[in-house]
């Protein structure tokens, strides 16, 4: 694993909540352009890892290097500008807004926010809105063409699987370099999960240089979509490698897969 390959690297990343050590000196590398699966039993620190990476929690100790710059104590906003976005395990869309509004939130940093521009330069604003709507439609088209036609409808009427899709699109609207997907299949049927993973693979094909970290409990999904896996246990890296390697590791089988 040579240094220039790593888009993201953490060194000794630690996060404690009082006496609970959620991340215990995690050293982890994410390579440029890969789809990395992050697995581990409940409470092993996967979501905490995402929360620390995106600046929602500050690490107690340790370092986060993203494309060479330290992001360990950066704000969520700065981390977004640096090119990391995420989805949430429990959908955090704004349900009373339209699909378009939610996607525009994802595109926030590329949009013009001055009072003068927004109130008085309405023609320029309309052009920017058109461009944003076109980009949003194009993204939705990858996932679910009918969804693209419902751009200005409220989120409330959108089915669960489509909400996940919108959430992934919202993250993509920010043109990230690293996309963190926190268990996108949570609460879905096997069939829906398969369809969503097809979408994620399609996104990878379209955005060749996008790096993705995927938290997932469904082993068949991990096997199918990831290039590499990291197994966490008690906030530490238990092992890493391809799914075949990881699932053959006796320690992983003991700790997580419940096999003997």
């Amino acid at each position: 694993m040579s240094a220039p390959e790593a888009l993201l690297a953490t060194r000794g990343l630690t996060r404690q909540f009082g006496g609970v050590v959620a991340l215990a000196g995690l050293d982890l590398e994410v390579r440029r352009g890969e789809l990395l699966g992050l697995i581990g039993p409940n409470g092993s620190g996967k979501t905490t890892f995402f929360n620390v990476l995106t600046g929602l929690f500050s690490p107690t100790r340790g370092e986060v290097l993203f494309a060479g710059t330290s992001l360990a104590h950066a704000t969520p906003q700065a981390i977004c500008r640096a090119g990391i976005t995420r989805t949430f395990q429990r959908s955090r869309l704004c349900l009373e807004l339209s699909i378009f509004d939610n996607l525009a939130i994802g595109a926030h940093q590329r949009l013009e926010h001055g009072l003068w521009f927004n109130v008085l330069r309405r023609a320029a604003l309309a052009r920017q809105a058109d461009a944003t709507a076109a980009a949003a439609r194009e993204l939705l088209q990858i996932f679910d063409p009918p969804l693209a036609r419902r751009l200005f409808e409220p989120m409330t009427g959108v089915a669960m699987i489509d909400r996940r899709r919108v959430e992934i699109c919202r993250a993509l609207m920010s043109h990230p370099r690293l996309l963190l997907l926190d268990e996108p299949s949570a609460g879905m049927t096997a069939d829906e999960t398969t369809r969503l993973m097809d979408d994620i693979l399609e996104v990878r094909r379209r955005f060749g240089d996008l790096t993705i970290v995927l938290i997932e409990h469904e082993m068949s999904v991990i096997e199918r979509v990831t290039d590499r896996c990291v197994v966490l246990n008690y906030g530490k890296k238990l092992c890493e490698g391809t799914f075949a390697e990881v699932s053959a590791d006796p320690e992983v089988r003991r700790a997580y897969l419940g096999l003997t």
Binding site: C80, T85, C94, Q109, A126, A129, D130, T132, A133
Partner: protein, 382 residues
């Protein structure tokens, strides 16, 4: 725009303006309490029927909201002409419009950014006192009004630090505390007149005193008619501004901050920046309204800016429905006019408003008119 669509727009606008104008006229001209009640019930029924049958939204859609604003402005002018020599009605109209402007400020804060402000009357007062102090100097009065807004925004910035560190009930408590402090400050401050308050000269515009009655086009206008026109202009400008802010990236960002700070932060939206923006815009609107109101009434005292008055402003917001300007305007008219027209309830108005707000929150938490999803503001979508 095709000729047909233009024609439909003009007709729809005229219909909306005419019906609104007639209802307002009937209400303002009503003498007996029974007529007032009947008009109110009729208006509520008409609006409910219009909304239920989708006729009203379709009319508004065909007219186009900017045309509706112009139409309502014209209706306002006609009403001023009709009540040209009735200071009581004119004062009532102007007051409701200025309260509406203040509520638009609160709307940006609470309904858009989710920042509660229970010190609306205090910021209204900051505007009023600024107008009283600066109005004596030689500063042109339009600038005095702008200064009233700026002063309210500046005083509001004292609250930024605590407001950015809290949310929900705690933020509300901070604004309540500020409102109480402000009133106490006024009462002990000798230069601002203490409990007795201050007198103000009327609004002067290009050498024209708004306080004087005046003959125009062969009609004798009460001085309040001109304040009423100024209030109509200010209210239209405020609605225009707030609508544009809400239908823009700013509105999207404020919604994101209100609905989910965590997700908003993860997409680069600065929570602090947008709360500050909403507070500043809102307080500036409240301050300008307060300044003009003080000039119109000619006298201000700490007693005008109590916590109760702040609560009236918030109750208008809740009654109208957070996120809907038409509902807000209707609520402002009801809350300001009803006690004046129904003398028997004058005494109990705070009690009645409290009951009304509780009923609305229990039976119809969305207010008179529900928040609708943001209409697209791109050129393709219209």
């Amino acid at each position: 725009m095709s000729l047909r669509r233009a024609g439909a727009s003009v007709l729809s606008t005229a219909a909306i303006a005419a019906v609104t104008g007639l209802l307002l006229y009937a209400f303002l001209a009503a003498e007996s309490e029974r007529t007032v009640g009947l008009v109110l019930v009729g208006a509520v029924a008409a609006v409910a029927a219009g909304l239920r049958s989708r006729v009203l939204p379709r009319l508004v859609g065909a007219a186009g909201p900017p045309a509706v604003l112009v139409g309502l402005g014209v209706a306002g002018l006609v009403l001023v002409r009709v009540f040209h020599d009735d200071p009581f009605v004119l004062l009532l109209m102007a007051r409701a419009l200025l309260v509406l402007v203040a509520c638009l400020g609160l709307h940006v804060q609470l309904a858009d950014a989710g920042v509660p402000n229970f010190a609306g009357a205090a910021f209204f007062g900051v505007g009023g006192y600024t107008a009283a102090v600066l109005g004596r100097g030689g500063l042109p009065h339009p600038l005095v009004l702008l200064a009233s807004g700026a002063a309210a925004a500046a005083v509001g910035s004292l609250l930024l630090l605590p407001l950015l560190r809290t949310r929900g009930h705690y933020a509300a408590l901070i604004t309540i505390a500020f409102g109480l402090l402000f009133r106490t400050f006024l009462e002990v401050n000798e230069t601002l007149g203490g409990p007795q308050g201050l007198k103000l000269g009327g609004l002067q515009l290009l050498g024209w005193s708004f306080n004087d009655d005046r003959r125009l086009l062969g009609v004798e206008f009460s001085g309040y008619a001109f304040y009423c026109l100024a209030a109509v202009a200010l209210a239209l400008a405020a609605v225009w501004l707030v609508r544009r802010v809400e239908r823009s990236w700013i509105g999207v960002a404020l919604d994101a901050v209100r609905l989910d700070e965590t997700a908003a932060a993860c997409f680069g939206i600065s929570i602090g920046r947008w709360k500050i923006a909403a507070l500043t815009i809102g307080n500036a609107l409240i301050g300008v309204a307060g300044g003009l109101s003080a000039m119109m009434v000619g006298f201000i005292a700490p007693n005008n800016f109590t916590f109760q008055e702040s609560l009236v402003l918030v109750s208008i917001l809740l009654l109208g429905g957070l996120g809907n300007l038409a509902g807000l305007a209707a609520a402002a008219l009801i809350v300001i006019w009803l006690p004046e027209k129904l003398q028997p309830i004058q005494e109990y108005r705070y009690l009645l408003f409290s009951v009304l707000v509780v009923l609305v929150l229990v039976l119809r938490p969305t207010g008179l008119i529900r928040r609708s999803v943001r209409r697209p503001f791109g050129s393709v979508a219209g």
